[in-house]
C-alpha cells in the first residue's frame, strides 16, 4: 500500500468509491466534496490536502482517500476539517486508520494545526471508534445536521482532535 498526493486521473476511481457508500457510513457526513471528484481535484487550493491510498501490486487500485481542508480564513488557519472515504471492500483492515494517520501527521508535524474536525452520523459506530482511537473527542451533537441519502434529517457527532503537545 502506498499513500500519495492525488492526481487528476484518480477522479473516476474516487467517484466510484463515493457512489458505492452511503452518506451515513462516511466521515464528515455532509461530504460535499466527493460527489464530483474531478471538480474537487481541479479546485484544490494550497489550503487543501488530498491523499489517496492505493495498492502497490497490479491491478493498481485506489482503496480510499482523505481530504484535509485547512480553513483559508486567516484567523482560522489553525483549523481543518477531515473527510475520509474507504471503498467498501477495503474497510475493516486498518487501511482507513493508516490513511487517517497520514493526514494527522501532516496536520501535526508539517502544517502545525491546532484543531482537526470531523462530523459523523450517530449510527456510524465504526467511524466513531476509529476517531476515538485517533484521539478525537466528541464535542457535542448537532440536531438535524444533514440530509441523508434517503432524504431524512440525521444528527451528527461533532468531533475534534487538538494538537498533541510534544514533549
Amino acid at each position: 500500500m502506498i499513500i500519495r498526493p492525488v492526481k487528476l486521473e484518480d477522479a473516476h476511481h474516487i467517484n466510484e468509491i463515493s457512489s458505492d457508500i452511503s452518506v451515513r457510513k462516511s466521515m464528515n457526513i455532509s461530504r460535499a466534496g466527493f460527489t464530483d471528484a474531478e471538480k474537487l481535484i481541479k479546485n484544490l487550493t494550497p489550503h487543501d490536502h488530498l491523499l489517496v491510498l492505493e495498492t502497490e501490486v497490479k491491478p493498481i487500485e485506489i482503496c480510499g482517500v482523505v481530504l484535509l481542508k485547512v480553513d483559508p480564513q486567516i484567523y482560522l488557519r489553525r483549523q481543518a476539517t477531515l473527510e475520509i472515504m474507504m471503498g467498501a471492500k477495503w474497510q475493516s483492515q486498518g487501511l482507513g486508520k493508516a490513511l487517517m494517520m497520514a493526514a494527522l501527521e501532516l496536520a501535526d508535524k508539517e502544517l502545525m494545526l491546532e484543531r482537526v474536525e470531523v462530523e459523523i452520523a450517530l449510527d456510524n459506530l465504526n467511524a466513531l471508534k476509529l476517531c476515538k482511537s485517533m484521539g478525537f473527542k466528541v464535542e457535542g451533537t448537532a440536531k438535524d445536521w444533514a440530509v441523508s441519502d434517503d432524504g431524512e434529517f440525521i444528527d451528527a457527532y461533532l468531533m475534534a482532535r487538538c494538537r498533541p503537545r510534544l514533549k
Binding site: 483549523q79 438535524d144 440530509v147
Partner: protein, 168 residues
C-alpha cells in the same frame, strides 16, 4: 434606531467596528484587517443570505447581523448566523432587535429548518441573547479561537424551527 439591509457604503463603519477591542476576538477579525475584506464580504452575499445593520441617528452603525445559508448539498436546510453590536451601543436592545429581524427572515421567508452559530464560551451577554431566542449549546469547541495570545473555547449553538419544515 432603524434596521435595514446592509450596503457596500456601510463597509467603512463595519470594518472599524470589527477591529475594535472586544469585538475583534468575537468576530474572528485581526487588527490588520483591510477594508476590502468587509467590502468583499458584502458583495459576496447571495439572494439566499441576509445581512442587516442597525442604524442610529446621523447614520451611525450600531450593529450588524448576518445569516449565511450553508451551501453544502446535504446542509441546505440550515444557515449560520452572527450578530455584532458596537461596544458603546451594547445593552440597549440592539442585539435583540437584530436577532428578531434575522429569525423572522429565516423562519418565515427562507423557511430554514436549522440555524447555528458560534460564540466564545465567556461571552455571557451574547450567549444569553441567543438562549432567549431558543438556541441551545450543542458542542464546546476546544481551542477553536484565540484571545490575547491564548487559545480559548467556543460554543456551537443550534436552533430548530419549531414550526417544522416549510422547505428543505
Amino acid at each position: 434606531m432603524e434596521i435595514r439591509p446592509v450596503s457596500t457604503e456601510d463597509a467603512e463603519q463595519i470594518s472599524r467596528i470589527r477591529r475594535l477591542n472586544g469585538v475583534r476576538e468575537e468576530v474572528l477579525a485581526v487588527t490588520s484587517e483591510r477594508l476590502d475584506v468587509t467590502v468583499d464580504f458584502i458583495k459576496s452575499l447571495s439572494d439566499e443570505d441576509r445581512a442587516f445593520v442597525a442604524v442610529e441617528k446621523k447614520g451611525e452603525i450600531a450593529g450588524m447581523a448576518v445569516l449565511i445559508k450553508n451551501r453544502s448539498f446535504r446542509r441546505r436546510h440550515s444557515a449560520m448566523l452572527a450578530v455584532m453590536v458596537a461596544p458603546y451601543y451594547q445593552e440597549k436592545g440592539i442585539g435583540t432587535a437584530l436577532m428578531k429581524k434575522l429569525l423572522d427572515e429565516a423562519d418565515q421567508k427562507l423557511g430554514l429548518h436549522r440555524l447555528e452559530l458560534l460564540v466564545l464560551t465567556d461571552n455571557t451577554a451574547a450567549i444569553n441573547l441567543y438562549k432567549k431566542f431558543g438556541f441551545k449549546i450543542e458542542a464546546t469547541r476546544k481551542n477553536a479561537a484565540v484571545k490575547g495570545g491564548r487559545f480559548v473555547d467556543e460554543y456551537f449553538m443550534g436552533r430548530l424551527n419549531k414550526k417544522g419544515d416549510s422547505a428543505r
